[in-house]
Symmetry: C2
Subunit: 145 residues, 2 copies
DNA sequence: TATTGTTATACTCTATAACTATA
DNA sequence: TATAGTTATAGAGTATAACAATA
């Protein structure tokens, strides 16, 4: 077998660095998609998360941020006519977020951008893609109780 | 619940999602290290980047941020007695950043935290670590002209 | 003229706390 | 009492533009 050149640095740290470089590439592609669509990153991320009608609170959970942020983000999306706040008849405290037609179109465009970025960055033969998926899956799996 | 049935989604998008989840785990570990050391993230990242004496400008390049940010970051590190600004005798415009003894100690502690996080997150048999490194390397490699 | 580091300024993202209206 | 959403506010991170000292 071959001798590794200079294993003075643990491989896990190499993996850390590679992961952050990969993330930087992905982030760059997504940011380009956002500016392309004329949306600030936070609004774009929210838009990408909106499928079925969802209460504000749940969107906050999906975005992993405080509920107070969601107000401003949804304000922006509403100002652009991409989303509506609908009262929930079953609980008058909650507002269901629903995409408008234009919102649906914009989200579809965003999805296409994201898919394009992912396709360009993860440009590997399918077998390697699958190997990578299996490895990454094992890293992010939640440890069961 | 390891394999959600989603055959209609391209694998590259799955990889995108897994990568971001992995990054979130890493980020969490690093943030914990930063608060553990009593340093704001930006200062911690700068500290981790400081080895040999380095001009402010170069630190900005390493951190991939504008030079105007570095002033404040280094102010913070200097206030904590971790770094010194030394005039460069060969070019009196530049200031060389040099870690103090305490700065060196703190950086070593930070390195240990980072290594610990990396070790915990990338907790795989060595063969799988190497496979992952090879795959990631191919993804971040710069395309040659 | 160009460059290093600084300052002033502004914009975004994020969090906390207090408020309202409902439950 | 507790919860959904809002508001006010503050902090951190980042960017641009203008400036002084130096090259």
């Amino acid at each position: 077998m071959s001798t590794p050149p200079a294993p003075d640095r643990p491989i896990s740290q190499e993996l850390l660095e590679l992961t952050f470089r990969l993330t930087a590439r992905l982030r760059g592609g997504l940011d380009a998609a956002h500016t392309d669509l004329g949306l600030p990153p936070a609004q774009a991320q929210a838009l990408a998360s909106l499928r079925a009608p969802v209460p504000m609170r749940e969107l906050a959970t999906m975005l992993a941020c405080d509920a107070s942020n969601v107000t401003g983000i949804v304000d922006g999306l509403e100002r652009r006519g991409l989303v509506e706040r609908r009262p929930d008849p079953r609980d008058r405290r909650v507002k269901q977020l629903v995409l408008t037609e234009e919102g649906e179109r914009r989200r579809a465009a965003l999805d296409a951008h994201i898919a394009k970025t992912a396709g360009e960055v993860f440009d590997l033969p399918e077998r390697d893609q699958e190997a990578l998926r299996d490895l990454l899956s094992r890293l992010v799996e939640e440890p069961d109780a």
